[in-house]
Amino acid sequence: MSVQITNGALVCEEKVELIGDITIGARTLIHPSVKIIAEAGPIIIGENNLIEEQTIIINRFKEGDDESKMKVMIIGDNNVFEVGTYSEALKVGDNNIFECKSKIGREVTISNGCIIGAMCSLDTNEILQDNTIITGNQRRIANEKPQSQLSQLDFLSKLLTNFQKFKKTNVK
């Protein structure tokens, strides 16, 4: 049970709760007031992810789950969790955007390049196709993956170092 922060990742000190077995990949930026809770198994977060304020990422048992079976939650690379996202999804691929206050259930598998719109709640048992866009009460498949948020990530990484204290990294 330990929190492993890879060298290059920026995890703010302020009000960030990391509970359980968590691995955070390089160049991932975690804003203040983020909760990442690994109750029902470890959480592995990839590289270049942007996790904004008040996001909750939680690996926890559903009612009726066999509590002796741990499952690993894997979040890929280049994902953006906007302010107030709540995610229980066990598998999240790459280049996804979770807009503000979106809510994802445990049974959903997010593939790559998906956008979950603001305030959208998805608690189905399905594998989202690549480049699915869900907004309001509609969904469709886009032709291409959303624009890369790397420049935003770079900008924020530079800016936040002036104002925030970061947790120490412990993995090279």
Binding site: G117, I133, T135, R140, I141, A142, N143, P146
Partner: protein, 540 residues
């Protein structure tokens, strides 16, 4: 917050016997006594000036009709109906070194000839890299910032000059529609002529059926006394369309048939594909009913057939009193302005009642409730409360009260509510006269007061889930500047404004919500500032 959040909690009786929230009501100052008017009992008038709410392009009705009220340069998203924005991007040179035909055609020939050798021999020259902005020409496409739909999704080619020029769908039936409208225009013109002939039987048929310029000249000749001026005007407009086939021997139906090809009967339809029945629908690729109806020309059923929707031109609306035809609401004619030339909203005349507290209801017992009353009129208003037992009021409005509201105070008590004064900040404080009401009036600040009343719900067992609803009268006495009718105003110009005191009783219908506070509904306790106000007033 009766006007802002839950407008339907407190309603007023309109002069047409409908119950409406105060924010939906207007008043007419010419009809005595001042009558309230709602949107269902005023005359609506549409401004002749049409404008696009996005680009503020404005046109008169004839012009917008010819473009079907659609703005040519502004579009809404076909998926979510939000506004589409124009986004620019530069063409990136392909990485494999083979220039796409698009890039070739759009890069300026001067640049290509400058370094023809470099570009052909080495694809990675700075000329082709994104760092050279003069090379990558800007292209524009439309994007919805809400759902991220772009014109590229349906394969609409980017354009090089914004705005406009996107290749949109063309209705395949355009010709037929035009044919039909033209046909009907001719018929309409002929009908009009025939009506005119009935109206003015003395007018010789010959003069009506002579075509174009000679017809108007012959009428001019006949119209010695100017009686036929309106006919003449209409004739001039219709003669050009209706003059071709105006032999009275031909019936209207025959004439129409000669103009319009009859519709063809369809006797076979393309059958639905097998997988329509066999496979479950893919919700990612079908459109919703709203999306289909948003584009009636095509009614796309697949998401891949969604095209940008032109934004519609809009128009401002003014409203008139149905009794005296004076304006009660008139917007400024400038399309960019959101102000009004005249707006007689009832909110600015009638004190607004809001519910301040909600108790835990007990049946058939008195429950204490606090109501607040706000005066938005430009001078002080004197109000008093009337308990209503009158069945007439209730019968008229179709309102069924389930509770009795009582104001336990002297019958003749009248309270002055100050006008709004933004120039100074006032402390919440009761006046000396307020203290004599024995706590009936429990709060006063600026133009707002609060009063305590008792509500007794008398629901039977079967109605236990019903709302607690009651009605009372709010008698308002205000000073209004006297309105003299226009004729009088012209003859005797007055320098001083005369104020007339007028007393109106408004019927206020309050819905306190369900008797049983369930599903997250909570008791709303007396706010602290009410006690503070009482204390501050007593300490003084």
């Amino acid at each position: 917050m009766a006007t802002l959040i839950d407008a339907n909690k407190v309603k007023y009786l309109c002069s047409c016997k409908r119950l409406k929230p105060l924010s939906y009501l207007y008043y007419c100052k010419y009809c005595k006594p001042f009558t309230l008017k709602c949107k269902d009992c005023v005359i609506h008038e549409i401004d002749q000036k049409f404008f696009c709410a996005n680009c503020f392009d404005n046109k008169v009705q004839k012009e917008v009709m010819s473009v079907k009220y659609k703005c040519a340069s502004c579009f809404n998203c076909p998926v979510c109906k939000n506004l589409l924005l124009i986004r620019a991007s530069s063409i990136k040179p392909p990485k494999d070194g083979v220039q796409s035909p698009l890039a070739v055609s759009q890069s300026s020939p001067a640049l290509v000839t400058q370094t023809p050798n470099a570009s052909s021999s080495n694809p990675a020259t700075p000329q082709q890299s994104p760092q050279a902005p003069q090379q990558g020409q800007k292209v524009f496409y439309l994007i919805c910032v809400f759902c991220r739909w772009t014109t590229r999704d349906v394969g609409i080619p980017d354009v090089t000059s914004a705005p406009g020029g996107w290749k949109l769908q063309e209705n395949p039936h355009v010709k037929r529609i035009q044919e039909l409208t033209e046909g009907y225009k001719v018929i309409a013109a002929r009908e009009k002529l025939e009506k005119d002939r009935k109206k003015y039987p003395n007018l010789k048929r010959r003069s009506l059926y002579i075509s174009g310029s000679s017809s108007s000249s012959s009428i001019l000749h006949a119209d010695k006394y100017g009686i036929l001026a309106p006919v003449q005007k209409r004739l001039a407009a219709t003669a050009s369309i209706g003059n071709q086939n105006l032999d009275p021997q031909i019936t209207m139906e025959q004439q129409f048939r000669s103009l319009v090809k009859p519709a063809q009967t369809v006797d076979s339809f393309e059958e639905l594909p097998e997988d329509f029945f066999a496979n479950p629908p893919n919700i990612n690729s079908i459109t919703s009913i709203n999306q289909r109806h948003a584009n009636p020309d095509f009614q796309p059923s697949k998401a891949s057939e969604l095209y940008p929707l032109n934004k519609f031109y809009q128009s401002k609306e003014s409203k008139r009193c149905s009794g005296c035809e004076h304006n009660v609401l008139k917007p400024e004619s400038n399309v960019i302005s959101i102000k009004f030339k005249l707006h007689q909203m009832a909110l600015f005349l009638v004190p607004e009642v809001r519910i301040m507290t909600i108790p835990k209801w007990t049946l058939n017992e008195e429950n204490e409730v606090i109501l607040s009353i706000t005066n938005r009129y430009e001078s002080d208003v004197t109000v008093s409360f009337v308990n209503i037992d009158n069945e007439n009021v209730l019968n008229l409005s179709g309102f069924k009260p389930t509770a009795k509201i009582e104001f336990k105070t002297r019958d003749d008590l009248s309270i002055v509510i100050d006008r709004q004064d933004n120039s100074k900040v006032q402390q919440a404080q009761l006046k000396q006269s307020d203290l004599e009401t024995n706590g009936f009036l429990c709060f006063r600040r600026d133009n707002k007061i609060a009063v305590k009343c008792t509500v007794t719900p008398f629901l039977s067992n079967t109605e236990i889930k019903d709302h607690v609803k009651c009605v009372f009268g709010l008698k308002c006495s205000i000073n209004m500047p006297e309105i003299s009718s226009p004729q009088v105003q012209g003859s005797t110009p007055t320098t001083k404004e005369n104020f007339v005191n007028s007393v109106i009783t408004h019927y206020v219908f309050v819905d306190f919500g369900p008797l049983r506070l369930e599903d997250g509904l909570k008791v709303v306790p007396t706010p602290r500032f009410i006690d503070d106000c009482l204390k501050a007033s007593l300490n003084k």
